[in-house]
């Protein structure tokens, strides 16, 4: 039996998954040589690819295989759901009334009133008294200013 027939038999075994590692090596060696029979040349690229890849140790599939397979459709749906949820939360924040405290009426400041130093005054007499006191303070201040020899800066003390 010639070499060509041997290789044909090995090829049959190879495609059935029945060859041993050493038989597969001899197939690769055969197809890497220049002695390939014309009727078997059609198989050459397949075995040359395996031989060259093994020699170069350049298995370029690794990264692809190591990656955990992901269902892309589910990932997209999950991402869209997350974005929509964030949008709703933001919308809720902006549409809610700005603090409920502002809606509570301040009973102490109802009706006609005047605010003096953060306090509400409804009574006109109290307002008058407060104003009078303030004016008196002012007049006293000017009096001191006009009679004093000290520089104006000291008035602040």
């Amino acid at each position: 039996m010639n070499q060509c027939e041997d290789i044909k038999l090995l090829l049959e075994k190879y495609f059935e998954g029945n060859t041993s590692l050493s038989e597969e090596e001899s197939l690769r060696n055969y197809f890497m040589s220049d002695m390939v029979a014309d009727n078997l040349l059609k198989y050459k690229p397949i075995f040359v690819f395996f031989a060259e890849s093994r020699e170069n140790n350049a298995i370029e599939y690794s990264a692809e295989h190591i990656a955990i397979p992901v269902n892309r459709k589910r990932v997209i749906i999950r991402a869209l759901t997350t974005v929509a949820a964030c949008g709703l939360i933001l919308l809720g924040i902006f549409l809610l009334p700005k603090g409920q405290n502002t809606a509570i009426p301040d009973l102490s400041c109802s009706g006609t009133y005047i605010m003096i130093e953060g306090e509400c005054f409804n009574d006109p007499d109290l307002v008058f008294l407060h104003a009078e006191q303030t004016l008196n303070d002012l007049s006293l201040l000017f009096e001191n200013f006009s009679t004093s020899d000290s520089p104006a800066v000291e008035l602040n003390e």
Partner: protein, 168 residues
């Protein structure tokens, strides 16, 4: 992670992977293929497995994704092999007779276009030199099941390559 450690830590979840696959795919053969694919993928990432706290959860996650992708693929690609023929033929065989380098490059592309399980098995056997019983050990499958998938992968590469090159 060595084979023994892999067998101790990963293979115990095989039955769960199988039953989960079967539930999702509702087909014994498909479920068995899914198990092989999951375990081979875990084997491919064995160096990083210790980074995961729960290998069972990881396995189930991979199983789920593989099964859902299989179902999705089945729906969309009833005639996938024919589609692949034309896609590869259009991109690579503009001339009647390809140059040797192009032909080798085409083989690589065909292998990359194989279903994941076949791609993994052909890679482990024809590129990395694993024995079939080693692959069977890794996947916990019968050696005949591995041999069948290897045979399918090799025949598919040959058929597509010949078809593109108009070889009978």
């Amino acid at each position: 992670m060595e084979l023994n450690q892999f067998k101790e830590e990963v293979l115990p979840v095989r039955s769960k992977i199988y039953s989960y696959s079967l539930r999702l795919l509702n087909n014994l053969t498909e479920a068995e293929d899914a198990v092989q694919e999951v375990l081979l993928k875990l084997w491919q990432m064995r160096e990083r497995l210790e980074e995961y706290r729960n290998i069972e959860a990881l396995s189930i996650q991979i199983t789920k994704n593989i099964c859902l992708n299989k179902l999705d693929y089945q729906k969309r690609h009833q005639t996938d092999q024919v589609d692949q023929f034309y896609f590869i033929a259009e991109t690579d065989s503009s001339e009647k007779r390809m140059e040797a380098a192009d032909a080798v490059s085409l083989v690589k592309k065909i292998i990359n276009s194989l279903p994941d399980l076949q791609k993994l098995i052909i890679q482990m056997r024809d590129l990395e030199g694993y024995e079939l019983d080693e692959i069977a050990e890794i996947t916990g499958c019968r050696i005949e099941s591995v041999r069948m998938n290897l045979s399918r992968a090799r025949k598919r590469v040959k058929e597509i390559f010949f078809k593109i090159n108009h070889i009978s």
